[in-house]
Amino acid sequence: MKSVVEFTLNGEGRAVLCEPRQTLLEILREEIRLTGTKEGCSNGNCGACNVLLDGVLVNSCLILAVEVQGRSIVTVEGLARPDGTLHPLQQAFLDHAALQCGVCTPGFLLSAKALLDEKPNPTETEVRYWLAGNLCRCTGYDKIVRAVLDVARSSAPSTPTR
């Protein structure tokens, strides 16, 4: 039995016909065709599918589409401003060469945004713990962590507490 699920996606209202078994990830990618949210494992272990659900970081492969009725979702496609100006994290990832193949990047960007929304001035250790749910096989994380720290430092002037 399909049912209509209504939610806000990157600021716009959406109504999608969903089967109960379908995940939010599947709906985003296959029905709405926003493929920036990636599938790396489908069981909550890689973070490539990360999105914000009412501002909270979730693995969209572990959320059923019917659960998002009435809620608000931000995906990687919703990070830049409507005029295309990149989010500071997106710009920092480019400037720091924090991506190689780039398939993990959408998930890292959402995770990093959720971190900085909650804790604008994290330590390196906090960044690493927060990003531990995102696997990257290319970079060794160094440049990713630097990019996130760089955004934190340029937007939050006080020094981090160790």
């Binding site: 489908s42 780039g102 440049k143």
Partner: protein, 770 residues
């Protein structure tokens, strides 16, 4: 104009304007805003969704497959088995990452008589939805007769072992064995009198090592979409390291002319050698043909990736080395048994050349055995075969240095190779940067700083990788506004669009921003070998260099015609062109040059002097005595890049290779039960390093110009993964006094070794005496 075999000039001493800078990559925006299309993102109208049925058994005879119920399910449009593939001759061809029999390639795609590993494909389905395709798989009946499984090289070579590949007879140093066995081949390189060399030694260390199967672990699972038209024309969207390799594998397996196949590359979410072999693409083509030419998309799950693609070989290794009192090596001997998986082609051949590659030693023998086991067919993984053998060699070198009370870097310097010395396969090195890397490591603040803290140890290791050149072709069109459209067909897996465009900009005397690189499909340019072997920035970059030279020459000729002077009278000046009386900037020159006729140039290259790459690394670890967990406290990698075209992406390769090496060293392994079933086929249980498992990875780029490239470039993608396991083992030894003889050095293994020492017995991970 340089030829493809040797450059007319080595420009490395010349100051460069673009090479060596760090511009934002041209494909960056699409990769941070989610618009870049990867393999599974291709969604064609009306596409069918496919699924692959895989064997639950590691070794079984297929008595019968009944697909009738699946085919009858509403929504199912095609079901295929091995019978739908053309019969494959036993013809040896270069295919994907190896030279092998077409029969083996075909049989890996869909099992015919036997399944040879858990996850071996036996059938595939295309349906109007993924849910229907999945339901259809459950309706396929396969009648298996179970056969005994053989999981390790040791078991496979034991007398009376079950024969996995019927009729396989080993090729042993050029001779075919009379009797079948699970040995596919044996290769030896040697020089000098080995035993006399060992007799000259003051210290001889003889050790055995075991490394487990690990996976490349790219985050993007394999995915493809294919259309096979009724007239046999094929279009394939592939996430691959080489579209031309996909094309030739499909042409060979499905017996289709090359020109009838168009492969369109998507972005690729990592490969590391594992996205060269085709797994899904031929199945999607055959399904599409059977389903009335509708597009068919196949996407693997993570578990399928782990059970049915990659991985790299596990291995049993014996390393024996001797040194005299002055710390000079007198003899070196390696015996390598690499597990190829179900079909021949482990990277043991490459491993032989890696083995003692950093060491100058007149007396050497390296023996390599390619062994068939009931594991997935192994695939290339970053410096294929290198990490396994270097774990052993670097551990033994550390023991030798300690036994002779010589600093481990000093020991390596004393025995280190330089230009003219021989590799293990007796080929001489050209100019290399091994000693420079070791000295640079010695000078780092890290190596000079005292080691502090309890349960900590420091280890060093080094490694060498031959690199590769290979074939590249590219075209470039000069636009009338002075911008240049660059067309290549080398997969960009980590920023090579930038490094290639930079070399064209450098060569042509324009800015990086004026070059727009594009990666075309197989119809757009001629052959390009795979992005692998650390070759792309080197060889396709070389093609870009030549394109720049050709465009400049053609522009000069056309300006000369327009100005009615001889071409020799025109010189290049700050990007523009000038004669005695007139000067134009590049854009104006382009306008004049393109006025009457378009300007497009093409280049094909196969550069041969690719120049070996070296890396030296230092790691501090902390070993938790209660759990056996090893924490990486500090890590420094030094690597010779020849010339770093885009230093950020060179550092990225160095850091990424180290991270993979750390995973291999400390946690990653395939865990099987006695039936050959993989017990950890997910990212939860196949434990790759996270951001928490690593510190910042400090990088030092050494630039010893490669005389075989116009800008001195060496490949940088692979050598970085060779030293980490050895360096970490040596650090664990310093921290605990234990020599670990097996990878991964995971908490259970380290703890077992610690407890065994306490109890006076031998731990499972501790080194065994040779």
């Amino acid at each position: 104009m340089s030829s493809t075999s040797s450059p007319s000039s080595v420009l490395v001493e010349t100051p460069l304007r673009v090479v060596g800078t760090r511009p934002v990559r041209p494909d960056g925006i699409e990769k941070v805003n989610g618009r870049a299309l990867y393999g599974a993102d291709v969604q064609l109208p009306g596409a069918l969704q496919g699924r692959v049925l895989r064997s639950p058994h590691a070794h079984a005879r297929i008595r019968r497959i009944d697909t009738s119920a699946a085919a009858a399910l509403p929504g199912v449009r095609a079901v295929i088995t091995a019978r739908d593939l053309p019969p494959a001759p036993d013809r040896v061809e270069e295919m994907g990452d190896r030279t092998t029999s077409l029969r083996y390639v075909t049989d890996n795609l869909l099992a015919s008589e036997k399944v040879l590993y858990q996850g071996h494909a036996v059938a595939a389905v295309a349906a109007t939805s993924d849910a229907i395709a999945e339901a259809a798989l459950a309706l396929i009946q396969v009648d298996y007769e179970l056969l005994p499984v053989v999981m390790t090289a040791g078991a496979a070579l034991a007398p009376g072992a079950p024969q996995i590949l019927p009729g396989l007879r080993a090729e042993r140093m050029g001779q075919r064995d009379p009797q079948p066995s699970n040995l596919a081949s044996m290769v030896r390189h040697e020089r000098g009198d080995l035993e006399a060399g060992f007799r000259r030694a003051k210290v001889v260390i003889d050790r055995r090592f075991r490394t487990e199967t690990v996976h490349q672990g790219y985050i993007e699972p394999h995915a493809t979409t294919a259309i096979c038209q009724p007239d046999g024309q094929v279009t394939i969207w592939a996430t691959t390291q080489g579209i031309f390799s996909v094309r030739s594998q499909i042409a060979a397996v499905l017996q289709i002319p090359l020109a009838h196949i168009k492969v369109i590359p998507t972005e690729i979410g990592g490969g590391f050698g594992g996205k060269i072999t085709v797994y899904l693409e031929p199945l999607a083509v055959v399904l599409s043909r059977k389903a009335g030419s509708l597009p068919v998309r196949l996407v693997m799950s993570r578990t399928e990736v782990l059970t049915s693609t990659g991985p790299t070989a596990g291995s049993d290794i014996r390393i024996r080395m001797g040194a005299d009192a002055s710390g000079k090596l007198t003899a070196a001997h390696a015996e390598l048994y690499y597990e190829a998986g179900a079909f021949p082609g482990s990277p043991v051949g490459a491993a032989l050349v890696v083995s003692f590659a950093p060491y100058a030693c007149a007396t050497m023998r390296v023996d390599g055995y390619d062994v068939i086991v009931n594991r997935p067919r192994s695939a290339a993984y970053r410096a294929p075969g290198g990490t396994n053998v270097a774990f052993g060699v670097e551990s033994v070198v550390d023991e030798l240095a300690a036994a002779l009370s010589i600093d481990p870097i000093e020991f390596r310097l004393r025995n280190g190779v330089k230009e003219g010395d021989l590799r293990p396969n007796n080929e001489p090195y050209a100019r290399i940067g091994h000693l420079e890397c070791l000295r640079a490591l010695q000078q780092t603040e890290h190596y000079r700083s005292p080691l502090t803290g309890r349960n900590r140890g420091r280890g060093v290791a080094c490694g060498a990788w031959g690199n590769w050149g290979g074939q590249s072709s590219a075209t470039a069109a000069l636009n009338a506004d002075g911008s240049v459209s660059l067309n290549t067909a080398s997969t960009d897996i980590g920023g090579s669009r930038a490094s290639i465009a930079m070399q064209l900009a450098e060569s042509l005397g324009i800015s990086y921003e004026q070059v727009k690189p594009r990666i075309g499909d197989t119809d757009s340019v001629s052959h390009n070998d795979v992005t692998g072997g650390s070759r792309t920035t080197f060889a396709t970059g070389w093609a870009a260099y030549e394109l720049g030279q050709k465009i400049a020459a053609e522009m000069t000729a056309r300006l000369a015609a327009a100005w009615k002077i001889s071409a020799e009278a025109i010189t290049r000046k700050s990007g523009g062109f000038a004669s005695g009386t007139q000067a134009v900037d590049f854009a104006e020159a382009a306008r004049i040059a393109c006025d009457d006729e378009p300007l497009m140039v093409s280049v094909t290259v196969n550069p041969k002097l690719y120049g070996a790459g070296f890396s030296a690394q230092c790691v501090d670890v902390e070993v938790d005595p209660d759990t056996g967990k090893v924490t990486i406290v500090r890590y420094t990698i030094v690597q010779d890049a020849g010339r770093a075209v885009h230093p950020s992406y060179v550092e990225g390769q160095m850091q990424g290779g180290v991270a993979q090496g750390v995973g291999w060293a400390l946690n990653e392994e395939y865990v099987y039960n006695e039936r050959g079933e993989l017990l950890n086929g997910s990212f939860l249980d196949y434990r790759m390093p996270t951001a928490c498992d690593l510190p910042m990875i400090e990088t030092v780029i050494v630039e010893v110009a490669n005389p075989g490239h116009p800008y001195g470039v060496r490949g940088v993608g692979e050598v970085n993964i060779i030293p980490p396991a050895g360096a970490i083992a040596n650090a664990i030894h310093q921290a605990t006094g234990l020599r670990m003889g097996a990878l991964p050095m995971s908490p259970p293994r380290v703890l077992s070794a610690l407890l065994a020492r306490k109890n006076g017995s031998k731990g499972c991970g501790a080194v065994s005496q040779g």
